[in-house]
Symmetry: C2
Subunit: 294 residues, 2 copies
Amino acid sequence: MKKAVLNKLVIFGVGLIGGSVALALKKAANSPRIIGIGRNADALKTALELGVIDGASNNVAEAIHDADLILIATPVAQTAAILAAIKPHLGPNTVITDAGSTKSDVLAYAQNVLGEKSNQFVGGHPIAGAEKSGVTAAMADLYINKNVVLTPSADSSPHAILLTKELWQACGANVSEMSATTHDSIFAAVSHLPHLLAFALVDDIASRPNAAQLFGFAASGFRDFTRIAGSSPEMWRDISLANKHALLNELNAYEAELLTLKTMLKNDDSAGLQALFERASVARNAWAHGQNNF
Amino acid sequence: MKKAVLNKLVIFGVGLIGGSVALALKKAANSPRIIGIGRNADALKTALELGVIDGASNNVAEAIHDADLILIATPVAQTAAILAAIKPHLGPNTVITDAGSTKSDVLAYAQNVLGEKSNQFVGGHPIAGAEKSGVTAAMADLYINKNVVLTPSADSSPHAILLTKELWQACGANVSEMSATTHDSIFAAVSHLPHLLAFALVDDIASRPNAAQLFGFAASGFRDFTRIAGSSPEMWRDISLANKHALLNELNAYEAELLTLKTMLKNDDSAGLQALFERASVARNAWAHGQNNF
């Protein structure tokens, strides 16, 4: 299939995620003209000054005119409103994608808001991040060898899928496709559940009368385990609620696993505990060393 | 109180923990003569060749003769047998300590095995470790500014407590004292529970038909959260069973926290979720930045 043409890219939300896409494209061949749009004028000014974007706008109609691709890289909570602002001005050949961490909710927004134009939309999720946020933290190499999952619907046009795929490939990412539902069940297990478990542990400990003493003896294992509990409360509130059905399934499966462990402990089941820990440590270390042999 | 005299130290198990004590003392003033003893002749030979110990022995009576202090730094499962081997040859002025991660079980071994000589015993737990194990991983600075908890019983002699405290202070550690029971309940919360939770998550995921797909999309948050699931299955089996009562209490408290989270999710309790995540992220980040303000 011949390459799709990307001459003009509009990014809603030029922060770490959107800004890193822009920087990556500027290093790639045939980099497009990149227009940033957002509610935070200071952030857009910084993005312009840093050379992350070629132009800034607060006028949706003007910004997306003649755009080949629109990337929504704001918090997911803003996606429906942005789609509604885009729709009246959306040209027939313009593709829309997003970078949210949950995909079924975003697909539903696209279908509800865009209606007959929802074939121009393809959801996406770059599996990359950093400790810091904002355009000053953006990096041209953020997506190199990282996974990006696209979640086209049955309606999504082949052109929309191709252009979105090539956007992320130009950033150095490994692009895969799956349904929004499959995406959300996978990420409930490997991302959303661990975040909830880490938040739960820290809240459990912080709420106790002897919290200071407990934290005083916490060490490096606790530090790594709870790192993700330092993440944005607003973002994780939104992700948790957007993906609540898959997440509740994961919590139920996890509670069953904890019940197994508790039963082994109560029964002094030394062999059972060792077998469970062994399976986990072998699997974890194989994964960490890149040997995904399942 | 004047300094206790440490002219001869005997270390059972010259691995990462015991070897790092030896190396630290060799850098300190008035370093004692250090004798290693253990079942693994090759490891002792390596320790001698590396200059970690001054002598090696496989004869308990000979090794501990005239020793001021004996440090048991083997896996905890060997402690009772080592205490039994020591007792017939134990001089009246020799102090015994250990470096195990659980303290009530070790105290019970000391009282049962040493009997009337248990006043010569003080349990200890250095809160330090490294990814690697064995004497070749030993480091002189492993304990600098790390916590070491001593768990003297009502029987422990003032001399035994002082000598053990000075041992760890000479290694650069911050030494505190508490009962074995208090120690075990603190570490159930901040160490043993997180380890079990991480093992449980990885085992839960690894046991599924689509495990390869799930691991394929796991990213840096999963990597940090599960690092401790790569730990030694044997060691964590022993710790879990040794501290099972405190650990079961922690698992019950954690399940109550998960139930709170599940109820919030089911009820779309956005404010409740945000408040819980906020408490956790504030507490975690304050702790990580050394502001333990509870």
